[in-house]
């Protein structure tokens, strides 16, 4: 720290401190915003594949963003992605557990049965699109829908490994960090997921 010749000069510095901390905060916020903007859509689709319902997917993505910014934003930015996906996967699992409990409770109650997996489905999704101009797009959408169905049928850990490695493009170490398991487990889950998906979708897919 600098020495001051007079008490007055010390007071002047005290009254007008250097702006470095505020600048550091701005830089850190900008970096965090860039990270979230880059990841949010893929994270939403990952959550939607697992949960089906877009509103539930939005909720878990928002929760993951809040938890990351509140609890882990001070960590090095290289750690944000695996941390974010670990929070997201925990949120997905919590929501799936709550759904299971709700289903069991609803089964005991009288009245019309509620299936939360089906309630959010748009009836227009099942209507065939007769427009001849977009057959390629339609085929791609159908292929993706088949893939999503097959992914939902996988064990949770296999689905997580496949989506993080293949969709999000994480390497084995990052995926292991996100899934809180060993790299060997990631390789096993991923390999099993690929074989199971290929078996379910068939050779023509």
């Amino acid at each position: 720290m600098a020495r001051f010749d007079t008490l007055n000069s010390a007071w002047m510095v005290w009254d007008n401190p250097a702006p470095a901390p505020e600048g550091a905060v701005l830089e850190y916020t900008r970096e965090l915003e860039k990270f979230l903007a880059d990841i949010e859509r893929r994270a939403f689709r990952v959550a939607q594949v697992a949960l089906r319902d877009p509103d539930d997917a939005l909720d878990v993505v928002q929760d993951a963003m809040l938890k990351l910014t509140r609890s882990y934003a001070s960590r090095p930015s290289a750690e944000w992605r695996p941390l974010f996906y670990r929070i997201l996967e925990n949120g997905i699992r919590d929501l799936q557990r709550r759904r299971t409990v709700r289903k069991r409770v609803m089964a005991w109650l009288p009245g019309p049965k509620e299936d939360p997996d089906n309630e959010a489905q748009d009836p227009l999704e099942n209507v065939a699109d007769s427009s001849p101009a977009i057959p390629e797009k339609l085929m791609q959408a159908q292929a993706m829908q088949q893939l999503e169905e097959s992914l939902r049928a996988l064990p949770a850990r296999q689905r997580e490994a496949f989506m993080l490695r293949n969709f999000e493009g994480m390497d084995v170490a990052e995926t292991a960090s996100a899934m809180a398991c060993s790299e060997g487990s990631v390789k096993t889950h991923y390999s099993r997921a690929v074989h199971a998906l290929r078996e379910q979708l068939g050779e023509v897919w």
Binding site: T29, L36, E40, R41, L58, Q62, L147, N166, L197
Partner: protein, 131 residues
């Protein structure tokens, strides 16, 4: 199912996923932007402690001012002067008490008169019925 087939499958599934991400509708995109803004606002409200310098500044200021004030007071000539003055005033008090001028001699005589009076009154009270 060979390795090459697996690779083709992985490439295709990745491409389909990224197409589906690009095709997200405006409602979802807008809600994701809102969620991001809310998360960043929360991060601003709850920064790591080392960024909260504004919180610590007043407390640090008061402490530094107190330390500076104490240091200056101990080393300043005023504190030495006041200590000398304090010594001087206590000596003066002793002088006043020990002074033996005319006024103080009168006061001692008055005190002696009072003692004589109280001795007389005590004797009178114990000597029988009042006159």
């Amino acid at each position: 199912m060979g390795e090459r087939d697996n690779e083709a499958f992985e490439v295709r599934s990745r491409a389909l996923f990224h197409d589906s991400v690009d095709g997200l509708d405006m409602r979802i995109r807008s809600r994701l932007t809102q969620a991001r803004s809310a998360a960043l606002a929360a991060a601003h409200l709850r920064r790591p402690w080392h960024f909260g310098w504004k919180v610590w500044t007043p407390a640090a200021g008061v402490t530094a001012a107190a330390i500076l004030g104490a240091a200056l007071w101990i080393n300043s000539p005023i504190s030495h002067q006041s200590a000398v003055l304090a010594d001087q005033s206590s000596l003066e008090d002793l002088d006043l008490v020990a002074a033996s001028d005319e006024g103080s001699a009168d006061a001692m005589e008055m005190l002696q008169d009072d003692i004589d009076f109280y001795a007389f009154a005590d004797k009178a009270a114990n000597s029988g019925p009042a006159a």
